[in-house]
Symmetry: C2
Subunit: 159 residues, 2 copies
DNA sequence: CTAAATAGGACTAATAGAGTTCTGATTGGA
DNA sequence: TCCAATCAGAACTCTATTAGTCCTATTTAG
C-alpha cells in the first residue's frame, strides 16, 4: 500500500492548521481541538516537528507552536521525513545499508534509489500552502484496485 | 519512511529472476535458491502473484512459474499492488473511505489522491525489464536525512 | 503410481505502530 | 513571587501488522 504512518498523516493535518493562521502561535490543545485528534498524540507530533526545525515553539503561558518558515517553503516530503525519518522504500535504499548478505544475488538494488527519488520528488512537489487550501475537487479514484482494501492509516478514518 | 513490505520487496526480486529467463518456467525452489530467500515465503508470494495474473503457473512435475506477459509490460506498481493491495497512502484515499468522522475538520483529504497519483505514476514508470538489468550505477544518496534511520524492509537486509 | 510441483489456508512469533502517562523545565501574568 | 499554562523528553503499554512456517489438498510428467 505504500503507506505513511498516522503520525505523518496527523502531522500534515496539524501543519495545515498552523498554516491557516501563519502568524500567531497556537497551543497543542487548540490544534488537537481543531482537528479532533487526541491531545497526547498531537503533543508528541508537534514536539517532533519542532525538533526537526519545521516549527518554532514558545514555552509558558500564551505559548504555542508556529511555522518555522512560510507554508510555501514546506513540502509534504519535509513533514513526512521529519516524522518518519529518511524516505527509503527498502532497507537497501538507506544509508545504514552496507554489508548486505544478499547483495550479490540482487540486481534490483541499484534501481531503488531511482524509485525513491521519483516518490520523493512527488512528495516534494506538494507544498503545505497548497495542502492548506480548502479542497481542490473531491476524491477521484485513479485506479480501481481489485483486491481487498489494504490501506492503512487515516487522518479521516471512519472509526 | 513510505515503505513497502518485504513481501513486495521479495516479489520484485523474484519477478526479476523470472524475467531473466523469460521463456522457461522456474520452480519456487529454484527461485528461492537463486535469491537466497526462504522457500515458504517465496512460495506464498508466487502464489499471490499468480492469483493476481502477473504469473502463470504450471502444476506437477517439471512445473513452475513464468511471467504472464512480457517484462516490459509489467511495472513496479503492478507488483507492489498485487502483493499489498491498492496503492493508498492514507485511508482517506481508498475506496472504503466513506463516512469519515473527521472529514469536516480536514481540508487535506482532497489532496491525497493527487499525492497518491504522483507516487503511483513514479512506480508505474519503472518496468520489470528495467529492474532486471544488472545495475545502473550504484546507490546514490539523494537526501542526507538527518534523523535516525527509519527504514524498513529489505531485499538486501544486513541481517 | 509416484514424485515433483503448485493451491490454499491456518497458524505463530516478532516487530512496529498508536497512543498514554509521568516528570521536568519555562514563562507570562495575577 | 507564585501559579497556571505550556512545551520537552522519555518510558511504557496495548494492539495490529508483518514475516514466516506448516499442513493438507490437487495436479501432472514420466
Amino acid at each position: 500500500m505504500i503507506r505513511i504512518t498516522r503520525e505523518a498523516d496527523y502531522g500534515i493535518l496539524l501543519m495545515t492548521g498552523l498554516a491557516q493562521t501563519e502568524g500567531q502561535p497556537r497551543s497543542a490543545a487548540a490544534l488537537a481541538q481543531q482537528r479532533r485528534l487526541p491531545l497526547p498524540m498531537v503533543s508528541k507530533i508537534l514536539k517532533t516537528l519542532t525538533r526537526s526545525g519545521l516549527l518554532n515553539s514558545q514555552r509558558g503561558a500564551q505559548g504555542g507552536y508556529s511555522l518555522a518558515r512560510p507554508a510555501i517553503e514546506i513540502s509534504a516530503a519535509d513533514i513526512i521525513r521529519a516524522l518518519e525519518g529518511p524516505l527509503a522504500i527498502t532497507e537497501c535504499s538507506a544509508d545504514a545499508h552496507d554489508g548486505c548478505a544478499r547483495q550479490e544475488h540482487c540486481e534490483v538494488s541499484g534501481h531503488w534509489p531511482r524509485i525513491n527519488q521519483a516518490i520523493y520528488a512527488a512528495l516534494q512537489s506538494i507544498s503545505l500552502m497548497e495542502m492548506s487550501r480548502p479542497d481542490p475537487s473531491h476524491p477521484v479514484q485513479f485506479h480501481p484496485a481489485p483486491r481487498a482494501v489494504a490501506t492503512i492509516n487515516a487522518a479521516n478514518r471512519s472509526a
